[in-house]
Subunit: 419 residues, 2 copies
């Protein structure tokens, strides 16, 4: 079974956007045993797409095309499809109602050009797009499959998970003889090479499986891939690898797959029936916004203060003027008083705080750019810890917010807090 991706769009070729769609599709298709063999990125040009379709029909079982489905003059995918398959465009009334409803829900009159989005090739099926106006299109020809999806990631991704993958797994069930499993363990607060050392000999653990280290500023993801001769074999293999990894590095693993630390921490707070508040200086609202990104966070999150100026630290959080004068804003004492202050202000059970020098300017010899104090306070204790996160402002803020949430996770679960 062979699979090809065609990514359509000048903006990819000239490097204006990075082709993250191809990575998403590659990973998802691989995970169900339909690995991608080739990915072609082409511009908005009719003859190039036509010749790619012809290559696909000859050489590939599955072709997935992303992009070029919008309503404007530079969107070529649908016209080229009907030309190649000698088909014609007809209006799909269900899609038309959906497009109208999207505009109506925003109190906007639908521009005439958008009616064109409900046009689909007569000999095709609609792949429903819940998050946008451009429907996906599925064409079958002699057991070959052509799938067109919008290029907007938040529209395309659910269409893949909800419709395309289930369809492909059913349609090609006879060809999918090996059973694939993939699981990603999420770690934070530890580097790639330290993890490597803690794990020791990788092959003792993974056998004929694969283990990939995927580092980012949020932590290192460990992706495990196995193939089995049946479902049970594949499950056993992946569970055994996960068990062995957890023996070695369990404290660093905070979650799985696409989970975020704010999700994990939210679940713990909900289960323990505890409320949280946040006082942020250098992270400037990043922690708060991560917590609020989780649906249902209003159940445990009281709120936060972004005390970017010293005045606010004093007036709102009750940090003592003497503390700021004697130890400075970036100090253990200030971090602790900020955490205690916001916890009392919001009457929450637990609180975290950050104060540091995000950079690129503002550092000094004893307090360099990248120095961050993270504080935690609950009804019994308060403490703060110091970190050095380097001189890149964005990475600094990202790492500080991640570490603060990890300190909170470990505190809530009584795991030793050590990095």
């Amino acid at each position: 079974m062979k699979t090809k991706l065609i990514s359509v769009g000048d903006e990819i070729l000239i490097g204006q956007i990075v082709n993250t769609n191809a990575a998403f599709l590659g990973e998802r298709l691989f995970s169900v045993g339909i690995p991608v063999h080739k990915n072609v990125v082409i511009g908005d040009e009719e003859d190039v797409l036509l010749s790619e379709l012809s290559d696909s029909e000859k050489n590939y079982d599955v072709t997935i095309i992303t992009g070029g489905l919008g309503p404007t003059h530079d969107d070529i995918t649908k016209p080229v499809l009907v030309k190649y398959f000698n088909d014609k465009l007809i209006t799909d009334n269900k899609v038309l109602r959906h497009v109208r409803n999207i505009f109506a829900s925003k109190n906007i009159v639908m521009p005439p050009v958008n009616a064109g989005q409900a046009l689909i090739p007569e000999n095709s099926e609609v792949i429903w797009n819940s998050n946008g106006t451009a429907p996906g299109i599925l064409i079958k020809k002699n057991k070959k499959v052509f799938i067109c999806l919008p290029g907007v990631p938040y529209e395309m991704k659910p269409m893949i998970d909800d419709t395309v993958l289930p369809f492909l797994m059913k349609y090609f069930a006879d060809d999918l003889k090996l059973f694939y499993r993939q699981k990603t363990l999420l770690t934070t607060g530890v580097g790639e090479s330290s993890l490597n050392e803690l794990i020791g000999n990788v092959y003792d653990i993974i056998g004929d499986g694969k283990l990939a280290f995927l580092p980012s500023s949020s932590g290192v993801r460990l992706r495990i891939n196995v193939t089995g001769i049946n479902n049970e074999d594949a499950d056993n293999k992946i569970n055994s690898i996960e068990y062995k990894l957890k023996e070695k590095i369990g404290d660093y693993i905070f979650g799985y797959g696409e989970e975020d630390l704010e999700n994990v921490v939210g679940d713990i707070l909900r289960k323990k029936n505890l409320t949280l508040s946040v006082a942020e200086s250098c992270t400037g609202g990043r922690i708060s916004s991560r917590i609020v990104s989780i649906s249902g966070s209003s159940g445990y999150y009281k709120g936060g203060v972004c005390s970017y100026s010293n005045d606010l630290k004093i007036s709102l959080l009750g940090v003592k003027k003497e503390t700021l004068e004697r130890f400075g804003a970036v100090s253990s004492e200030t971090a602790v008083e900020m955490a205690e202050g916001v916890r009392k202000l919001t009457e929450s059970d637990v609180s975290i705080s950050t104060t540091g020098i995000a950079g690129p300017d503002g550092g000094s010899a004893d307090k360099p750019v990248g120095m961050v104090w993270i504080g935690l306070s609950d009804r019994k204790n308060s403490f703060a810890m110091k970190f050095l996160f380097g001189d890149n402002r964005e990475i600094n803020i990202q790492r500080s917010s991640q570490r603060a949430l990890e300190i909170l996770r470990r505190h809530l679960l009584n795991i030793k807090i050590e990095f």
Copy 2:
């Protein structure tokens, strides 16, 4: 002149890494008038690379291959090159010394396998790799050019800028008769199809240029591309298109290129010597964290409050209990009182506030999920505006924060606030 990129590596196809190299190459090549026409991503398979080389020789003037130059068994690029060009590998002594030195500088004995990195095809030239052990390779055949580079970004990128681009610009000087310009206008607060209508007949404006609509949840970017017969001609064309677009949709354009709205708003505040504060409910800190992401924001940003609970709206921001009881937390009155409250609390010149139902739960018939009130207050006036941003929590928060910053931008610049 036609150019093709070949990215080699299973890890790209299965989505383990995102192909940022292709975006870098696309942008750099475009900037010197050698746009990429096609990018092919293939796995580590000999026959597939052979057939791509054959396609390149037939159809493309320049082919750039990245990846597969390492020292291990799965690195196929060099063996395939010598096979395709009927060549043989010989040791390049200068490269061999360089590879030895790299290991020596790390106090590591060079593993025997790495000697193979100094092998290059006899009929090729070395492209020097200052940052790694794998040399680049340049092959010329009948005025067609084949360039192989390592896939590691920090090795590949300087090789492009230092060697490959200067070489290509010289080698193809006669073909580079056209002068390229690109400019991206950033809009927000208006949809793709409404922009299309406001602009009217695109071709009246762009002539022989190109205009692409690139929508995202932050707004629609408009990318203009032109070619001219000389620098002046290209400048004139792009300036004329920008001027005509601004006549039609100038109010919606907040910036250029890679700018963010938080950047633009920060510049305005700095110039006008005004200070800002933020009170966030449904956006939960997103606006504050966007403002703080800008280096130097401490000069104009006082801070913010994330009043996620009604209690905090009352105790911290001074929202009246009666207001919440009579109109609800998601109302014009609450948004205005939040904005006024945070402005007074932080003694800032201007403030913005958000209160809404981010979803996916919590909506009702008259206040559906996605309803958001955005408030603004300065020393003279306060007002609030209502929006419907749909039922996806993340998009909702993103759109609310973007719209709040856009309202602030228009207010500060005395542009009519209307969406």
